[in-house]
């Protein structure tokens, strides 16, 4: 761990990176309708300023010795109670600045795009307010120097996600989707909360540096517990199995939201959390294995789901899960994998945002239609969207020299290099995932842009305005060059080395060149199969009913919701109903019973009030006798 230098010079503006979008959110959400006319412009300008600040900081770090690239800024004392001292503090290092650039860069582009996309929405101001709130929270998440402030950002992005998924919550299903996302994420939050408590109990500190310092001295059980709790948190936020079920429904939000929050940035927070906590995972092989297994399962799960969906956004959502699965797998491989996980996270941020915005552009031109069976032949109607979408497509399936080729290839290679049975299992699964990715993406491109036009008579697909196509074009270029820039010459690995330490030398299970060829062959098979099925046969207007059990399962998200409903939701509803009954009848019943008892006794004793002086005299005499006896007995 390198010394953390106090922020000075340009770095002293670090807090502004977070504060600017927060200011935007406050102005737009509190300012009300007065800000309708210009609110979206302010909300777009502020992230751009944050991005510029981020660039200044990036070059500032670049200009320092590689061992001196950790800058800390203490903002103020937040929660001081005896040994528990948490300050609002920021940490800028090669890892966090990479995220800052991704978040503010892609974020700014998506703000620009949204100006066009949301132009006709009456609530556009509120939308931009939420987007700014999201950016501020996400920036706090990645810049926090302690787990507790990270948690504030973590939950802030969850809130923004909830608000934006439910942005059109007058549609009941969308409101349900928003609630589901929040609640599933809360299950993950239990993990993060408990992890922070455990950190404090064991180390007396919840700062990232403090935990990293204490980790080597902690017991194996503590480290594994911390690792698994953090993994639970990551599963919630990053939609990894078993907490994956919310992401598909989250596509209810406006498409720019899907691009920014549910593809490029927020859902990658789990990967960030694991990478940021590398000091714990480095020391616990069990926790790492659990991480890798979650990643592998999810990368296949998401890809299979993505291959069965006809809704273009839901297919992309499955793809996002799958791609994050790759990142989680890489993070689970330990020191060799962190840098590749983050590299893939960045390139995925470019190409997936590109694809989502492209999908949004298609929907924009097709009056909100999302069913790919009702698209077809759109390449002529929307040439710019088509070209940029193809750039994203080539990037995600990993065709050289597009971005995904470099970053995903490295993950597959690292998986094999883990060695032993695990290495082979992870490697083959990752390879298989690449094939399925090629399949579902080709299916998507063919169904959308090629073949006969299948759209309804009333539809007039048209190209989107420049304010929407320009940001997509920038992302398309990044999808082309981003991977090579990061990976060639180990540029990014070297950049992150001060954070993760030097990557250990590994022996190759399969020679990299051979593996690359194998990967490309697998991808080609996926492309070929999809083209054969959707390019050479007519696409049915309705999804075929007679399908293999796997397809049927994949259409139902591999029964993820059915499982949750059967195991958690319905028993939970029964429990709730039972407890309401129990509370009314048993607990309150006991109280009422007691009251009735007292009432009954008093009405019995009331009968003694007869009004006859003789009976009162008798009871006085009896009372006096009892007293005398009592006194005599006590004296004896």
């Amino acid at each position: 761990m390198h010394q953390i230098a106090a922020a000075s010079g340009a770095f002293s503006l670090l807090w502004l990176v977070v504060a600017l979008p927060l200011l935007g959110a406050a102005v737009l959400l509190l300012g009300g309708r007065r800000t309708d006319a210009w609110g979206h412009l302010l909300a777009t300008a502020l992230p751009v300023v944050s991005f510029v600040l981020g660039l200044v900081m990036f070059f500032g770090l670049l200009g320092r010795e590689s061992t001196a690239r950790s800058i800390g800024q203490h903002v103020y004392s937040w929660i001081p109670v005896a040994g528990f001292h948490v300050d609002i503090g920021l940490l800028l290092d090669p890892l966090s600045v990479s995220f800052v650039l991704l978040i503010t860069g892609v974020g700014s582009l998506i703000h620009i795009y949204s100006i066009g996309y949301m132009e006709h929405d009456a609530d556009r101001r509120r939308f931009f307010g939420y987007l700014n709130l999201f950016l501020a929270s996400m920036l706090l998440l990645v810049l926090s120097d302690s787990y507790l402030t990270l948690y504030v950002g973590w939950e802030g992005v969850g809130l923004a996600s909830y608000l934006l998924i439910g942005f059109w919550n007058h549609t009941p299903e969308y409101a349900t989707a928003a609630k589901k996302a929040f609640i599933v994420n809360r299950i993950g939050d239990v993990g993060l909360s408990l992890a922070i408590m455990l950190m404090f109990a064991k180390f007396g500190s919840v700062s990232i540096a403090g935990v990293a310092e204490g980790a080597p001295k902690a017991s194996a059980g503590t480290l594994t517990a911390l690792g698994l709790l953090l993994l639970l948190a990551a599963c919630g936020k990053s939609a990894q199995v078993p907490l994956q079920s919310w992401l598909g429904d989250a596509m209810a939000g406006p498409t720019p939201v899907s691009a920014l929050i549910h593809a490029a940035t927020m859902v990658t927070a789990g990967v960030y959390l694991i990478a940021r906590s590398h000091a714990i995972f480095d020391l616990s092989a069990d926790a790492r294995l659990a991480v890798a297994i979650v990643g592998v399962v999810t990368l296949l799960f998401g890809a299979i789901v993505g291959a069965a969906k006809d809704d273009i956004k839901k297919s992309l959502a499955g793809s996002t899960m799958s791609q994050i699965g790759y990142m989680v797998l890489a993070a689970g491989l330990g020191p060799v994998g962190y840098a590749f996980a983050i590299a893939h996270l960045l390139t995925h941020g470019f190409f997936k945002a590109n694809l989502f915005l492209g999908a949004g552009s298609v929907m924009h031109g097709m009056d909100g239609e999302v069913d790919m069976r009702k698209y077809g032949g759109l390449r002529k109607a929307m040439p710019l969207t088509f070209i940029s979408f193809i750039a994203g497509y080539l990037a995600i399936i990993g065709v050289p020299p597009f971005a995904g080729f470099f970053t995903k290839d490295k993950i597959i290679e690292a998986a094999f290099d883990k060695g032993g049975g695990q290495g082979w299992a992870f490697g083959i699964a990752a390879l298989l995932g690449a094939g399925i990715t090629a399949f579902y993406m080709t299916r998507m491109v063919v169904m959308t842009f090629f073949g006969e036009k299948r759209w309804k008579d009333g539809a007039h697909p048209h190209e989107s305005p420049t304010v929407m196509t320009a940001p997509v074009a920038v992302l398309a270029v990044l999808s082309l060059v981003g991977g090579a820039f990061l990976i060639l010459g180990s540029r990014f690995v070297g950049w992150l080395e001060p954070v993760f330490g030097p990557a250990p030398e590994s022996t190759h299970t399969i020679a990299p060149a051979t593996l690359t060829v194998i990967t490309l062959v697998v991808v080609a098979v996926g492309v070929g199969l999809a083209y054969w099925q959707y390019g050479t046969h007519p696409v049915a207007a309705l999804a075929p009913a007679r399908v293999t059990p796997l397809t049927a399962a994949a259409r139902r998200d591999l029964y993820g919701d059915d499982f949750n409903e059967a195991v958690f939701m319905r028993p939970g509803q029964y429990l709730t109903r039972f407890l309401v009954f129990f509370d009314n009848r048993v607990v309150d019943g006991a109280v009422s019973g007691f009251a009735a008892l007292v009432g009954g006794l008093s009405s019995r004793s009331r009968r003694m009030q007869t009004g006859f002086a003789r009976s009162y005299a008798l009871s006085m005499f009896a009372g006096a006798a009892v007293l005398v006896v009592a006194v005599v007995l006590v004296r004896i």
């Binding site: 953390i4 230098a5 106090a6 922020a7 800390g72 203490h74 103020y76 937040w78 929660i79 001081p80 109670v81 005896a82 040994g83 528990f84 001292h85 300050d87 609002i88 503090g89 120097d145 302690s146 948690y151 504030v152 939950e155 802030g156 809130l159 919550n169 007058h170 549609t171 009941p172 609630k179 929040f182 609640i183 299950i187 939050d189 239990v190 909360s193 408990l194 922070i196 408590m197 455990l198 109990a201 064991k202 180390f203 007396g204 500190s205 700062s207 403090g210 990293a212 310092e213 204490g214 503590t222 429990l575 709730t576 407890l579 309401v580 509370d583 607990v587 309150d588 109280v591 009251a595």
Partner: protein, 511 residues
């Protein structure tokens, strides 16, 4: 300080105000409301002045006054505030004007006179200040019982359809608890007479007593029973949903948000320092009840169809957290619990008030009678959501700070209890968001047609709460600085120190 009777003045002001309000001629309802609001604002201003003067590192009880009252029984009129009492009094004096403003029309339809409603609220404020400020245990008891009177009439004369039942249930339940406390109080007096020669009710003298362990347990139980009913702790809670639902929203705020805190305040102020060994002896049982309360309250809240009862059950869950933190007996747990009392006051007030706004518009407490409010009244829906998020302890809002402190403070000593309690955060998300979804989202239905959005008066009532919830969420330090010394003293009296971390590290953060 220097001898000026700040606390007496603070306590008397609302009482005088209530006499003025009650003496106003019949039919001058608006004037009654204005006078009540004015008085409550003056009281708030005075409390603010006192809070600024309070020295967080100073004497235990500040603004202290003591005058003999019933000398033959060692009863005195002694008042003073430590950090815990101070923040609770501050919370109460903030909430009273908000309640008056939010409940401007609450009494209009009642059979009883409007001015009576506002006069009773001011009387109640006097009692609340008295009970938190009393440093003579007998005086505490007097206020503790006297509080019941204005609340009984507030519920019984101004509440909903079942108001008589709710009021009587509340009164009997509370009297039962109070009776047990009275018995224990007399016992304590006898013990003090034995040990000190003359019996006393003075808190500072009683704290040093050495009570035989058998007696101590019985005395503890007497006090604790009263507080567990008041707070309320599971399973002594069933009076609360009835009382909260069938009183006016304003009364519910004062009842659940402020009055019930006397229970948890009593635990930390009286039970622990007076009966340290008994407190430790009963801790396991109390922790179990607290955790049951957290989960049970949340689960039952999920199943409610009446929104006021829902809030009451969420409070059962929250009181579980507060009790948990107190009996975890760590700095974080107890400071967290004290802060929780304040934050819960604000967030629950918010929920009851917003609920009241909804009920006022629709005339129904049933959740099923709403839908799509966000379409027609976005500000109302937004305030509702924010209060809900405060209730589920969203990080960044005030209740997160206190809830997390309680959890972390509990975890260091009782990890299993903390783990179970943490599950409550998922349940909280369910009861809040399910409720919000049913009321505010979806298409604007016939049910909510013609809903006005928040009016100016309503905004003035709700805005300070929103501001406080956000401000304390990001900057709780001023409150914690006041609370921490008081909590440290309590822990010292109980003879507990915080558990030491297994592998302590020196923080690597930049300063």
């Amino acid at each position: 300080m220097n001898g000026f009777p700040w606390l007496t003045l603070l306590g008397l002001l609302p009482l005088l105000g209530s006499i003025v309000v009650a003496a106003l001629p019949r039919g001058r309802d608006l004037l009654a409301k204005q006078v009540a609001l004015g008085v409550s604002l003056v009281v708030f201003a005075l409390a603010l002045v006192m809070a600024i003067q309070f020295k967080s590192g100073g004497a235990q009880f500040q603004f202290a006054e003591s005058h003999p009252w019933i000398s033959s029984f060692g009863v005195s009129y002694s008042v003073g505030v430590d950090g815990i009492a101070l923040v609770l009094i501050a919370m109460a004096t903030i909430l009273v004007p908000i309640v008056i403003l939010a409940g401007w029309h609450e009494a209009d339809d009642a059979k009883a006179q409007v001015k009576t409603f506002f006069a009773l609220i001011l009387v109640l404020e006097t009692m609340i200040i008295g009970v938190f400020a009393a440093t003579d245990v007998f005086l505490f008891y007097v206020f503790f019982e006297a509080m019941l009177i204005p609340v009984y009439f507030l519920i019984g004369s101004f509440g909903g359809a079942q108001r008589s039942y709710a009021a009587v249930k509340f009164l009997l339940y509370s009297l039962f608890g109070g009776l047990l406390m009275l018995a224990a109080l007399i016992g304590l007096y006898v013990v003090s007479a034995h040990q000190l020669g003359t019996g006393t009710f003075e808190y500072s003298k009683l704290v040093g007593l050495h009570i035989g362990s058998g007696t101590e347990k019985w005395l503890f139980l007497g006090f604790f029973a009263a507080f567990a009913i008041k707070a309320p702790l599971w399973p002594f809670h069933t009076w609360l949903p009835d009382a909260a639902a069938d009183s006016t929203p304003g009364t519910a705020v004062l009842l659940v948000g402020v009055l019930d805190k006397v229970g948890t305040f009593g635990m930390i102020r009286l039970c622990l320092p007076l009966f340290p060994d008994a407190s430790k002896y009963f801790t396991p049982v109390i922790l179990v009840l607290a955790v049951i309360g957290i989960l049970y309250g949340a689960l039952v809240a999920i199943g409610q169809t009446d929104m006021m009862r829902l809030v009451a059950y969420t409070s059962l869950s929250h009181f579980g957290f507060i009790t948990l933190g107190i009996f975890a007996m760590t700095s974080q747990g107890q400071s967290g619990s004290t802060l929780y009392m304040v934050n819960h006051g604000f967030s629950t007030a918010g929920l009851f008030i917003v609920g009241g706004f909804l009920v006022r518009r629709r005339g129904s407490r049933l959740i099923a009678d709403y839908g799509g409010v966000q379409r027609v009244a976005p500000l109302l829906a937004g305030s509702f959501l924010l209060m809900g998020l405060a209730s589920l302890a969203l990080p960044g809002l005030s209740s997160f700070v206190s809830e997390f402190l309680v959890l972390v403070g509990t975890f260091t000593r009782y990890p299993v209890a903390a783990v179970f309690a943490t599950l409550g955060i998922v349940l909280a998300a369910i009861y809040v968001l399910l409720w919000y979804q049913r009321v505010a989202t979806g298409p604007a239905t016939e049910k909510v047609k013609g809903f006005r959005d928040l009016g100016r008066r309503e905004m003035f009532a709700i805005a300070p709460l929103i501001a406080l919830i956000i401000a304390i969420g990001f900057f709780p330090k001023p409150l914690l600085d006041v609370i921490n010394p008081a909590v440290n003293r309590t822990l010292h009296q109980v003879g507990q120190t915080d558990p030491v971390p297994a592998v302590p590290v020196s923080e690597g953060t930049a300063k």
